[in-house]
């Protein structure tokens, strides 16, 4: 198992796509910074819409922490799940397509340990991406926007129902928590992508199917018509990670949904192992 893990780590760190994912995140942060400046300038120039009515009354609102929070919440909707899907979806299917899977599977190793090592490496990739992204946002926010307390208002982030505030040091701690909660939530996507990677022999197919499933449930979960179905979607449970940014962290709620996500991840991983154990490698 340890040998397999070392092998998977070496492959991860030698892959060009690994570094490319970080470059894309840097580009996204630059884009967010540009958008933050121009949008804020326009809105504070007298064009504030109703949903921002609190926001622009507070001179303290726009600071590096707010910027980091916006950037993180927006990227978590699509960008990070795409990267995790790409990383996990190509793990088995990519090896099958390249022919290296049969080279590995003719060695005296168990298929379950192969799946597990690939999942752990994907989890590490997700944690690194999220840590890097949060760190970069905070640094960029500090340098280009400046720091203060994290003020929260009801609005586009859909985070609080009433205005609230998190003091600067506490807010920094919350970003630290979000690395853990965010990675934990992303593992559901990673496990789903790994399952697709075993079911489909093409990495592109595995990635597309994962993203399609995620987006479909995510979008449907936000449509009023399907409100009654919302609790049954894993995308709804995944949202728990945002709770660390509430003025008072609802720990009980957070643990509940963290466990639900853990159950999803474990179930998907078990299904992956069972299917892969029975799979005929004919590529």
């Amino acid at each position: 198992m340890l040998t397999l893990l070392k092998l998977e780590l070496e492959k991860l760190f030698r892959a060009r796509s690994f570094y490319l994912s970080f470059l894309v995140l840097i580009a996204f942060v630059a884009l967010m910074l540009w958008g933050f400046y121009t949008y804020a300038a326009r809105k504070t120039g007298g064009e504030a819409v109703e949903q921002f009515k609190y926001t622009y009354e507070s001179k303290q609102y726009f600071n590096g922490l707010t910027f980091a929070l916006y950037s993180l919440l927006f990227s978590f909707t699509l960008l990070l799940p795409i990267f995790v899907s790409m990383s996990a979806g190509s793990q088995i299917a990519g090896e099958a397509r390249g022919g290296t899977l049969r080279m590995i599977c003719t060695r005296p190793i168990s298929r379950a340990s192969l799946v597990l090592s690939k999942f752990l490496v994907t989890a590490l990739h997700a944690a690194l991406l999220l840590s890097f992204f949060i760190g970069l946002n905070l640094i960029v926010g500090l340098i280009f926007v400046g720091w203060g307390n994290l003020e929260l208002y009801p609005g586009p982030l859909n985070l609080v129902d009433a205005p609230g505030k998190i003091m600067r040091d506490d807010a920094l701690m919350r970003f630290g928590y979000s690395v853990l909660s965010g990675t934990w939530a992303l593992l559901v996507i990673a496990a789903l992508a790994l399952l697709c990677s075993v079911v489909f022999d093409s990495p592109a197919q595995a990635i597309v199917m994962t993203i399609a499933a995620y987006l479909t449930l995510y979008i449907v979960g936000r449509v009023e018509f399907f409100e009654h179905l919302r609790p049954y979607f894993f995308t709804t449970d995944m949202d728990f990670w945002r709770d660390v940014f509430k003025p008072e962290i609802p720990w009980r709620n957070l643990w509940h949904y963290a466990c639900t996500c853990g159950a999803y991840t474990t179930g998907l991983l078990l299904a992956t192992v069972v299917i892969f154990e029975r799979k005929d490698i004919v590529t």
Binding site: L7, R107, P108
Partner: protein, 305 residues
């Protein structure tokens, strides 16, 4: 120690409604170069994949010499080297690094062994190059190198000369002979090339549509007929004369020979008949059937059945 390197019993694989391998029973003895012969789609690769654990058999048994449990099966399999179809590697890594990674998964393979196998396949000087710059022939040799990593007792090669140029084919065959003679390996070699099997193998298994049609020495396969060739001065006259004779099966083999399928008695009668009718008989000798002819005879008979 058992003389058997590998044995299957009623090995069967069904993909949905299609029967890929049908109750296959083969036996590979130690020291054999066993030729597993069959046309494309006969079930060769599926059989080899089952032997290596890549494909789950629908039913039947695979036996390596020491094996009483699934753990022992894994251990026994760890002493089997293999190439299935075109060997694939991590393209950006060097040949040496690829072998080191595969060695780490093979259990108990030292770094020294990596250098040894590179030496055996004559790739040591280019071992630092990334695999993406390797020619097809070099990849094939690297494939053999990875198969040799666990110091195997049995090596399974699936169409190892497929896609190689004549020089590559020659080198690969030389290497396979060397593996047997110098390193005392048992080789299970699948191919659809009859010349390859004829040149390399001491035992042959012929598979067609998933079924084993023949297993044994290639000589026995080709010598088991009553075919004889006859060279005469009047080919057309001799053909007409012998065609009418009961108990003889005559065919014209090119411009200069007749082929007669007959036992010794019938053959003597044919000779007397030709001479008695003034036809000069220059040569009357056993005509050994080529492996290709034997193969076609077996597979066409199977299709008729």
């Amino acid at each position: 120690m058992s003389d058997v390197a590998l044995q299957t019993e009623d090995l069967t694989k069904r993909f949905g409604r299609r029967m890929a391998v049908d109750r296959l029973t083969i036996r590979v003895d130690r020291g054999d170069i066993y030729g597993f012969l069959g046309p494309n789609g006969a079930g060769k690769s599926t059989t080899l994949r089952m032997l290596l654990g890549l494909v789950r058999p629908t039913s039947g048994l695979i036996k390596f010499p020491v094996q009483n449990s699934s753990w022992e099966y894994l251990r026994a399999r760890s002493r089997v080297g293999a190439i299935i179809e075109t060997p694939a590697f991590y393209e950006n890594l060097s040949a040496r690094r690829n072998l080191q990674l595969l060695a780490s998964l093979s259990g108990g393979v030292s770094k020294k062994r990596v250098e040894e196998v590179l030496e055996i396949v004559n790739l040591r000087e280019r071992a630092g190059d990334p695999v993406k710059v390797y020619s097809y022939g070099m990849r094939q040799r690297l494939g053999i190198a990875q198969a040799l990593l666990p110091t195997p007792q049995l090596i399974i090669l699936d169409e190892p000369t497929n896609g190689l140029d004549p020089q590559g084919i020659h080198e690969t065959r030389k290497l396979i002979r060397r593996l047997r003679h110098e390193f005392k390996l048992t080789v299970l070699l699948s191919s659809h090339l009859l010349t390859e099997i004829e040149q390399l193998c001491n035992r042959v298994g012929i598979i067609h549509e998933g079924r084993l049609l023949y297993e044994g020495g290639p000589e026995a396969l080709t010598a088991s007929t009553n075919l004889h060739k006859v060279r005469v001065d009047n080919l057309a006259g001799a053909f007409e004369l012998l065609s009418k004779e009961h108990g003889l099966s005559v065919s014209q083999n090119g411009a200069s020979f007749l082929r007669i399928d007959a036992d010794a008695e019938a053959l003597a009668r044919a000779n007397a008949l030709l001479v008695g009718n003034g036809i000069k008989v220059y040569e009357l000798s056993p005509a050994q059937e080529s492996l290709e002819e034997a193969f076609l005879r077996l597979t066409s008979r199977n299709e008729l059945n």
